[in-house]
């Protein structure tokens, strides 16, 4: 039995088919990147895992059990509005545990401190989200989902609004944290380099309706470590170019069918 499983999942909005019958298995602790052109339906698939949208047909199973409405097992990290502005950094992290009855107040405090440290925000615990950088706000969101105890992190272009340097730093940290915490990640992006760098496995999507164009096992090609040195290696470039060619092919398809 696989950990997370999409079984002929489809989605249509009225006459528009957004996701064609989609099958995929994700292993526990795997970092899967959904790569594809904007508006191709990859976000819809990710949101279905979160329970924020329902498949029109087919099923998504977590440990063999069909997924129900949203709960804290599947946490979201958005690109914008990722932290509540009226709560401090620490308050946002603690918010992940607000509805948990299995933790005492002391445990919640300890976990808040732990995850703040993990994302390097201990010194900013009492700061307001509006007064820290966009990169720090994304760390807050990551810490919040970890504190909530989400076993799957669903990340919707979380670093899309950051500058190149911050983005790289966060990518490194996300990879480290994901390894340390052993969580499963589904990460949506249209940035080829980001996909190559972060993923254990990249799923390349076609244009809408979303279909798998290609599956690239990054770990088999580059090894399990994501380091900055790796980023400069020939193997990394080859892989990046390969992904880029795949993504480009979906784009040409669009131009070819355009009137």
């Amino acid at each position: 039995m696989s950990y997370l499983e999409f079984r002929s999942v489809t989605k249509r909005y009225g006459p528009v088919e957004v996701v064609a019958p989609f099958d995929l298995e994700v292993a526990e602790g795997e970092f899967v990147v959904f790569l594809g052109p904007s508006g191709c339906g990859k976000t819809t698939l990710m949101r279905m895992v979160g329970g924020l949208e329902q498949p029109s047909s087919g099923r998504i199973l977590l440990r063999g059990q069909p997924l129900g409405p949203p709960d804290r097992r599947r946490g979201m990290v958005f690109q914008s509005y990722s932290a509540f502005p009226w709560l401090t950094v620490a308050g946002n992290v603690a918010y992940g545990m607000r509805y948990r009855r299995d933790l005492t107040a002391a445990e919640k405090r300890a976990r808040t401190a732990h995850f703040l440290r993990l994302v390097g925000l201990t010194d900013f615990a009492h700061q307001w989200p509006n007064r820290i950088s966009g990169g720090m706000r994304q760390r807050v969101a990551i810490a919040r989902t970890l504190a909530a105890g989400s076993e799957i992190l669903l990340m919707d272009e979380p670093f899309g609004a950051l500058d190149a340097l911050r983005r790289e730093r966060l990518q490194l940290e996300l990879r480290r944290i994901q390894r340390e915490e052993g969580r499963t990640v589904i990460f949506v992006t249209h940035d080829v380099e980001e996909a190559a760098f972060l993923a254990d496995r990249v799923i390349v999507f076609t244009r809408r309706p979303a279909r798998i164009l290609a599956e690239v096992d990054v770990t088999a090609r580059l090894g399990p470590e994501s380091t900055l040195e790796l980023r400069g290696s020939a193997e990394f470039f080859a892989l990046r170019n390969e992904l880029l060619a795949l993504v480009r092919s979906t784009d040409e398809e669009e131009e070819a069918t355009a009137p």
Partner: protein
């Protein structure tokens, strides 16, 4: 904070300049003092009215009416507006009715309100409530709808039950705009209050102003109007200051 001090300075200087200009025009005799008494005369009148004619009492009565009506309207508009904005069918059901009433000019409803409630306090409260509730409820509903879906979805994916999303997400997310909208609606209350007090009252600033007009006491009319202006200015500034204090987290 030099910027804000600068603003206050400019604002004060401009207001003083305007008053001086007014004083000069009145003293020059270009306009009859019957129509445009000098500000010094108005201020003197204001003082006598406070000392001898119970102006502060009337101001207090008016302020009380405004606040009672406004608080009733707000206490109803906030929960109903939040429900309208978060539960689709409630919004769909109430919006047409509210939109219809919202467009009725309050003065047009004065006769009806007198038939229903007589000329006592309830008529005034009713008219003020009428003028603010229907406006505020729609503003609140819109504010709720403008809360980013990311906030709600964040709450859902950490396991927040539906009703907790109202109290833990919708309410705090909209609170700064809500306070702003309440501040603006409170100002409208004064408009309706004066209408109500002119039509049917034996107390309040509207009554004072209307009485003065009957005896062609232009300085008294102006003193009454200025009193309203001062109350408005003070209220507005107090609420703005509170807003800055409560919502410090908005400052980038």
């Amino acid at each position: 904070m030099a910027g804000s001090r600068h603003r206050i300075l400019i604002g004060t200087a401009a207001s003083l300049g305007l008053i001086l200009l007014w004083e000069a025009v009145s003293r020059s005799g270009a306009v009859s003092a019957r129509f445009l008494p000098a500000p010094s005369v108005v201020v003197a009148t204001l003082w006598t009215m406070i000392a001898e004619r119970g102006l502060l009492y009337h101001a207090g009565v008016s302020t009380l009416r405004v606040w009672v009506a406004f608080l009733i309207a707000a206490a109803m508009a906030v929960p109903i507006g939040i429900l309208m904005g978060s539960v689709r069918w409630i919004g769909a059901a109430l919006e047409p009715v509210i939109d219809f009433i919202r467009y009725l000019p309050v003065p047009a409803l004065v006769p009806l309100s007198i038939i229903w409630f007589g000329v006592g306090e309830s008529t005034k409260i009713f008219l003020l409530w009428l003028g603010t509730f229907f406006q505020l409820v729609l503003l609140v509903a819109d504010d709720v709808r403008r809360v980013p879906h990311e906030f709600h979805e964040t709450a859902m994916t950490v396991g927040a039950p539906g009703w907790r999303r109202l109290t833990d997400v919708s309410l705090p997310a909209m609170l700064p705009t809500l306070v702003d909208n309440m501040r603006i609606t409170l100002g409208w209350c004064w408009t309706y209050l004066i209408i109500a007090e002119i039509v049917a009252a034996d107390s309040g600033l509207g009554f004072v102003i209307w009485q003065a007009r009957r005896f062609f006491q232009t300085p008294e009319v102006m003193a009454g109007v200025i009193t309203i202006g001062i109350i408005g200015l003070l209220t507005d500034q107090v609420i703005r200051a509170a807003h800055r204090r409560w919502f410090r987290y908005l400052v980038r």
